[in-house]
Symmetry: C2
């Protein structure tokens, strides 16, 4: 059964990889699972029909038969559990990959989002210049620890897996904001993720919602629905 995910009909970044449907599209692409996309507007996201799918009124959601899921991390894990290719088969390695999934979302993403949100929403506030160094320090601490752990390895835990997918997706959102580039091994790590064919397909499919161009190589055999 072809799953259906939701994505922004309009988003502030105009489909340049910041919205969290990217990581779900990427995971589906890695395992070769075609999918449908239903676009939702900002106002639709807060309506009862969407809130029934996503209690916090966000995207992405994932529907597959009777199953409706929310939270990109949970959706990626669900995909990884049901298809080969995103989690190691050996049980300890599998558990460690899942630990990196949680680390990406609960330890690395929050300080990066906090810094990014302040840059976006508080730049005109009187406190911005005084406060930003604290946020930079918090973000750098996590990135530094991650950089130390990754070292010269290609991926975090053996071969590419769902932990890398979420970590790269999280770091990718800070690309170009200056801070990621202070850690050359993390920049190279993100570049390796971006070079994967499934990442490119996911990125292009998300971008195509906004450019109106058909995605270069979508997983789905059917054309993507367009924003009205």
């Amino acid at each position: 059964m072809t799953p259906t995910i939701t994505a922004f009909a309009r988003s502030p970044d105009r489909g340049r990889g910041l919205a969290r449907d990217l990581r779900v599209r990427w995971a589906l692409g890695e395992v070769g699972q075609p999918y449908e996309v239903r676009l939702v507007s900002m106002s639709e996201m807060k309506q009862p029909a969407h809130l029934a799918l996503h209690p916090f009124g966000q995207i992405p959601t994932y529907e597959e038969g009777d199953l409706a899921l929310f939270e990109s991390g949970a959706i990626v894990l669900h995909i990884a559990e049901r298809h080969a290719g995103l989690l190691p088969e050996e049980m300890n390695a599998r558990a460690r990959s899942i630990a990196w999934m949680f680390a990406a979302l609960n330890t690395v993403e929050p300080p990066l989002v906090e810094r990014g949100m302040a840059m976006l929403l508080e730049r005109d506030k009187t406190w911005y210049e005084q406060r930003q160094p604290f946020l930079e320090d918090r973000a750098r601490r996590r990135l530094g620890e991650l950089s130390n752990r990754l070292g010269e390895a290609e991926w975090l835990e053996g071969a590419f897996n769902a932990g890398d997918l979420l970590m790269v997706a999280v770091l990718f959102r800070s690309k170009g904001s200056g801070i990621l580039e202070e850690y050359p091994n993390l920049s190279a790590y993100v570049a390796r993720g971006e070079a994967r064919p499934a990442f490119k397909r996911a990125f292009n499919a998300q971008l195509a919602v906004f450019t109106g161009e058909p995605p270069v190589a979508n997983n789905s055999e059917r054309p993507l629905p367009r924003a009205p």
Copy 2:
């Protein structure tokens, strides 16, 4: 094999449930798995031996034979996957419980932590009074959405499961700060979690590290190691 977790030898809250080993102790208690505790000091957490276990120099960690895990969410999921009692058997219900685990850690916890950290660390800053209303609003938005979803239900998704465990553990950290109490159904939900015998044992075991009193009913048959 008895797993070993790490916890703070000293923590700012003196063992009153804020440190994240609580959720792991609780999960172990729910499934009846005895465990050992190794206490680590703030400086030990940043040393190579601990960083090898936890790349971000935090607690808790989880060691069981050859397996070493970090991230409380991943540890709770690992426990829930290997023991009966914390995840529904039906596959869709199981996936939805895991979605709530991610929601607790990635959607609900960040705005609560951000608000709490500002109250703790930025109270003397010039911007505190102007900025705090924004943080309150962000936290209230998530709590309001969660409150709407929970409604009059006892737990988020059928019977108590690992999703509730993490959500209650996250909300519990905001208890007494005023904001949780604005949502009576969430307060009652947290109280239901706290009333579970395994929560009480976990809370008492964490507290006992600081009071020096033996825990009332620890899972472990052996006495807890004490802080030096």
